[in-house]
Amino acid sequence: MVTDTAAAEQMVERLLAVTWDDDAAYEHQRSRGRLTREFLRRTAQWATAVGAEERWPFSDLARALDPDVDVDQALLAKLETDPAAAGAFPIRPADAALIVRWAALGDLPRQRRPDLQDPYEPLLALFGRGGAYSVANGFIELGYGSFPIRSLADRASLEPKPIDATTLDALDQEA
């Protein structure tokens, strides 16, 4: 069993700090699209690799990789903030828990599958460029613009695209 408690705690704090910024979401709409594409591609590849196709793109990749991964319930409970006090597009608590459990795996994913990239890195970058998302009618809704989820096979077969800050900023400038 691998449980990196410090990494999980840091991730909870990071997620709790995410807020919706309408101006930023508007300015970063193209890069938020790129990050969503990369999130879908990476999670699709991981889901295929660890047999977590059901509920993709929000399947529990961490538990599929290590069924014994354990995160303190009290820590996860911190994510259950009052939804009525939230701003627009709050991070869905169930999605946040997936990300925290993945963080709790520490280096295990890189050790087991060095060929696959961090599935949640794109979402964390997206949260920093305006905030989270909602999901409706087969699309990830980004506040400004949306991204069709399509099938796991379709997304797993995509070629990777860069998501470094310079590339993302250039995409937004282009728009």
């Binding site: 709409q29 009525a84 009618n137």
Partner: protein
């Protein structure tokens, strides 16, 4: 629909319009450039669970009631715009980037993008915050809590977008 109406404080006939748009009616939805598919909306699990919980009379949190109310507002405005002939979204290639991201523009916004934001749990979320980007003027106070001004919102959308 009486239980959802009771939970949200919205007229049952309004909830019925939302239900038909969400679960019964078929829609033409662009899922890529030049790629339009006709069918029911894809049921997202949390949405289906929330709707079912309300239908079953389960006690909802205030955040869940807000989510449900904003969902009904979204679906009703979207349904009425679709009924008026406004497309759900567009398959024009210029609205899709090379990554597959779809973005409406003020000149080219579909019924889905113009409708109030759905599934918002916060008490104070402005469901029409995106309207200023579209050059639309929301009614004073935005979407009424009992959703009694949705027809006015539809009227303003149609006039403002020049549909």
């Amino acid at each position: 629909m009486p239980r959802i109406a009771e939970a949200t404080g919205v007229d049952p006939s309004v909830v019925e319009v939302a239900k038909r748009n969400l679960f019964v009616n078929k829609h033409d939805v662009a899922i890529g450039p030049g790629d339009i598919r006709r069918g029911n909306f894809t049921a997202d699990e949390p949405v289906a669970e929330l709707w079912k919980a309300a239908m079953d009379g389960k006690e909802l949190t205030r955040g869940e009631v807000n989510q449900l109310r904003s969902l009904v507002a979204h679906e009703v405005v979207e349904a009425k715009l679709l009924e008026a002939g406004v497309p759900y979204n567009f398959a024009e290639p210029k609205l899709w980037d090379e990554d597959g991201w779809y973005g409406d523009t003020p000149r080219h916004a579909g019924a889905h993008a113009v409708a109030p934001r759905a599934l918002q749990s916060g008490d104070d979320v402005d469901l029409l915050q995106h309207w200023r980007r579209l050059g639309l003027t929301p009614p004073e106070g935005g979407v009424a809590r009992d959703l009694s001004n949705l027809d006015e919102i539809v009227r303003r959308a149609i006039e403002g977008m020049g549909w």
